[in-house]
């Protein structure tokens, strides 16, 4: 028996390690992907004023802060019982899509891309974005510029790009001026060009060279979860949830009902938990007979949606489906799906900036504290994201429950790594290139492990007032 530890897993967000156990013949007996970090947001957010949550929970993740910021603002809307005015909603939607562009570019080029551009077996010193800068300098320059430009777009739109503040209970704090809109439109057109270039480049130069890997690396069979609008089109800001089985059947439900479907398993070797669909049975990650397993993130979203709401992305989806069917299960297709989503977001940003309502100054409604529970749900780039808040009559949090995107891919990631390692490591033969390919099975999921390991809580708070004989409260005990 031999143990191989790959630590840290690199070119992902957050901290994890892979442990591979080989039997006496040198074949894979077991694998684990352990998340080694945890911070405890749901515990330390209890007691905070709920309106501060969009600014506190954004810090779950500095790569997808907008996702938390928006899910939190939506949960606040629900707690306060208000719907933002149309311009407030559209500004949030616009910020979401710009953030998506930035993140999908970041993942494809800065994190995962090196495996494909430099080769999975390249020396580690060049198998990274710095290597890409050396090999494809013009492309790299363009990519660095446009990704940064998306961050600048978010600054123009919201004052602060990372750990934003502009999405507030009841709407959006900063109306968009005509001048700002014109600046953004120029930048949006440039981003759209890079989005079109990216999927064309990948379809010509990357995917065809890796078809064997696509067909086999980390391939598993699971269900899928994503969000669609009333017409069944993909929607990343708002809509109804679709939970699809591996065979393509689906059920729809409202985000507020997520607890009817999703439960979380705990394993002793990871700080991150393992969400599963409890309606499908008792959780199992067995590769031949998985139970309760569903995936989120780009591949899941394009599987569950009927169509894309923008024309170029829709064409790409049709081409994808003609090649791979629906639902597509091959893990490396996450990268292809990511580029389709990049294109959708780029088109959506252009369309929102052309909407006359986007410069309206009615972006926010005032709110009043009350005792209530509210669930806010958005599609984060890495998966469906739920913020579930309960407040007392002063609007202070008594319970917080967060089901965060990547954590729903925790079991699938473990299964894909087991599949990849089992297929690649035979008779004790392995090298750094092979181990990197095992990691590629993780990178396809673009995991955000700071998100996955926030901690998950739905704690019920109890408050006991101790009253004297006259009915006056003399002390209060809380859990």
């Amino acid at each position: 028996m031999k143990q191989i530890v790959i630590q840290p897993v690199t070119r992902i967000e957050g901290s994890a390690k892979i442990t591979i156990q080989l039997d006496d013949q040198g074949n894979v007996a077991d694998t684990r992907v352990s998340v080694v970090e945890l911070r405890g947001f749901e515990r330390f957010c209890v007691g905070r004023p709920v309106e501060e949550m969009p600014r506190i929970t954004s810090r779950i993740c500095g790569v997808c802060p907008w996702s938390h910021h928006l899910a939190s603002a939506k949960a606040c809307d629900a707690v306060f019982g208000v719907e933002p005015p149309p311009a407030g909603r559209k500004l949030r939607d616009l910020a979401n899509s710009i953030a998506y562009m930035e993140e999908h570019i970041l993942h494809f080029y800065f994190l995962a891309g090196a495996d494909f551009v430099m080769g999975p077996d390249a020396d580690y010193s060049v198998r990274n974005v710095i290597g890409i800068v050396g090999k494809l300098p013009e492309v790299a320059k363009q990519v660095v510029r446009v990704r940064h430009m998306c961050a600048r777009m978010l600054e123009i739109l919201s004052g602060k790009a990372i750990h934003p503040v502009a999405a507030v209970p009841g709407g959006y704090s900063k109306p968009l001026t005509e001048d700002e809109k014109k600046k953004l439109q120029e930048m949006a057109n440039e981003a759209l060009e890079l989005a079109k270039f990216s999927i064309d480049y990948a379809k010509k130069n990357i995917f065809p060279n890796y078809l064997d890997a696509v067909k086999t690396l980390g391939v598993i069979k699971t269900g899928f979860l994503g969000t669609v609008d009333a017409d069944g089109a993909l929607n990343l800001y708002d809509g109804k949830l679709r939970m699809m089985t591996a065979d393509g059947q689906y059920e729809e439900f409202a985000p507020a009902d997520y607890l009817d479907y999703i439960a979380e398993d705990v394993e002793p070797w990871s700080y991150a938990k393992f969400p599963y669909n409890k309606k499908w049975g008792q959780f199992s990650m067995d590769l031949d007979n998985p139970v309760g397993i569903y995936r989120v993130n780009t591949l899941a979203r394009i599987n569950v949606c009927d169509k894309m709401a923008t024309p170029l992305a829709q064409k790409e989806l049709e081409e994808f489906r003609s090649n791979f069917g629906r639902p597509a299960q091959l893990t490396l297709l996450y990268h292809w799906a990511r580029l389709i989503e990049l294109l959708y977001n780029a088109e959506h940003v252009v369309e929102l900036l052309n909407d006359p309502q986007i410069t309206s100054t009615e972006t926010r409604l005032p709110v009043t504290p009350r005792a209530a529970r509210g669930v806010g749900c958005v599609e984060a780039p890495r998966g469906t994201l739920f913020h579930d808040y309960t407040t007392d009559e002063k609007g202070l949090l008594t319970a917080v429950n967060l089901l965060v995107a990547t954590v729903q891919n925790n079991a699938p990631i473990n299964m894909s790594v087991k599949r990849a390692a089992t297929d690649l490591i035979k008779n004790g033969v392995y090298d750094q290139a092979l181990l990197n390919m095992v990691e590629m099975a993780i990178r396809a999921y673009d995991p955000c492990l700071s998100c996955a390991s926030h901690s998950l809580d739905g704690r019920l708070a109890v408050k006991i007032d101790i009253q004297n004989a006259s009915g006056e409260t003399v002390d209060t005990l809380t859990t």
Partner: protein, 306 residues
């Protein structure tokens, strides 16, 4: 070529994205830097490239950049290894410098956090705490400087790309770098009359402002909305100066940390509020609000059990 190592502890990744947000000047800096270890971007491993070694190793470097606060024993071990191997240590971001948002956990015990996460949540199948092959928690969250000597401090949540670039360029030229000891108010363009117009109100509605302008807006705190600018270090606006949150017509919440070493933001804020006629006792959740990003060195502690 300056050798650079980068590590991250109880992080969110925002500091690393801020390095990328240096933008095109980064392409000029890159040729002068040789990254020897930076998990987010490069595949250098702790135990050898095939996991063949038994002791954790980070290569020697001239500059070590560390983001994130210390939350578990492995973070502590890595901090010590970085200090050993790097000549200059930069604490990047408010977590590394002051604990950051994760230090809000210092209001609870480690047992309480684990009880919530693995047993009390609505959706969790209750279980024992995971402990197999994963690093145990430290008793509380620590800032980097509580565990190792730090040479350069770049606060902010996230830090400002311009200042990161300047700090790196200074180091390449053999100079030190530090941010001036001024408050956010010193860079804030709003109108101040040193008097609040109303009593304290929570930020549940807009402040009064003209979209696109900041110069004709009354100070947010004087409009009755708590703003922690007076107790927070200046710099978040970069060379453009206008503080980032103010640009969205939202109040400051102190992400750049205290104005200088040894400052007491809680006391500074109580003073700032009283001096314009606002009563700090009316602030909900005062302790956690004034210490939101800086809950180390005892500023935030577990509440006494009742």
């Amino acid at each position: 070529m300056v050798r650079v190592a980068e590590e991250w502890f109880a992080i969110c990744g925002g500091c690393e994205v801020s390095i990328l947000d240096i933008g095109e000047p980064l392409l000029d800096l890159l040729p002068k830097l040789e990254f020897v270890h930076i998990p987010v971007l490069m595949d250098h491993k702790y135990y050898g490239q095939t996991g063949e070694k038994t002791t954790l190793e980070i290569p020697e470097a001239d500059v070590g950049i560390i983001s994130g606060s210390i939350r578990n024993e492995e973070n502590k071990q890595l901090a010590e290894e970085m200090r050993k191997k790097c000549k200059t240590i930069i604490a990047l971001g408010s977590c590394a410098n002051f604990g950051g948002i994760p230090a809000l956990a210092n209001m609870y015990t480690v047992d309480q956090i684990f009880d919530t996460v693995y047993r009390e949540t609505k959706s969790t199948d209750p279980a024992d705490n995971p402990t197999v092959d994963i690093p145990p928690f430290t008793d509380r969250v620590y800032a980097l400087s509580e565990v190792i000597k730090v040479d350069v401090s770049l606060p902010g949540c996230p830090p400002v790309p311009e200042w990161i670039a300047e700090a790196l360029t200074s180091l390449l030229e053999g100079k030190t770098f530090s941010l001036p000891e001024r408050s956010v108010c010193d860079d804030c363009p709003v109108i101040r009359e040193k008097k609040a117009v109303t009593k304290l109100i929570r930020p549940l509605q807009d402040a009064e402002f003209t979209p696109g302008r900041y110069d004709n807006m009354r100070c947010i705190m004087e409009q009755g909305i708590l703003c922690q600018g007076p107790a927070t270090k200046a710099g978040c606006g970069g060379t453009e100066k206008t503080p980032r949150c103010i640009r969205a017509y939202m109040p400051c919440r102190g992400c750049f940390g205290p104005i200088r070493a040894g400052a007491n933001p809680m006391v500074d804020m109580m003073g700032a509020l009283s001096s314009i006629g606002l009563d700090p006792r009316e602030i909900e959740d005062r302790m956690a609000t004034f210490n939101r990003f800086i809950g180390v060195v005892g500023r935030l502690r577990p509440l006494p059990a009742r």
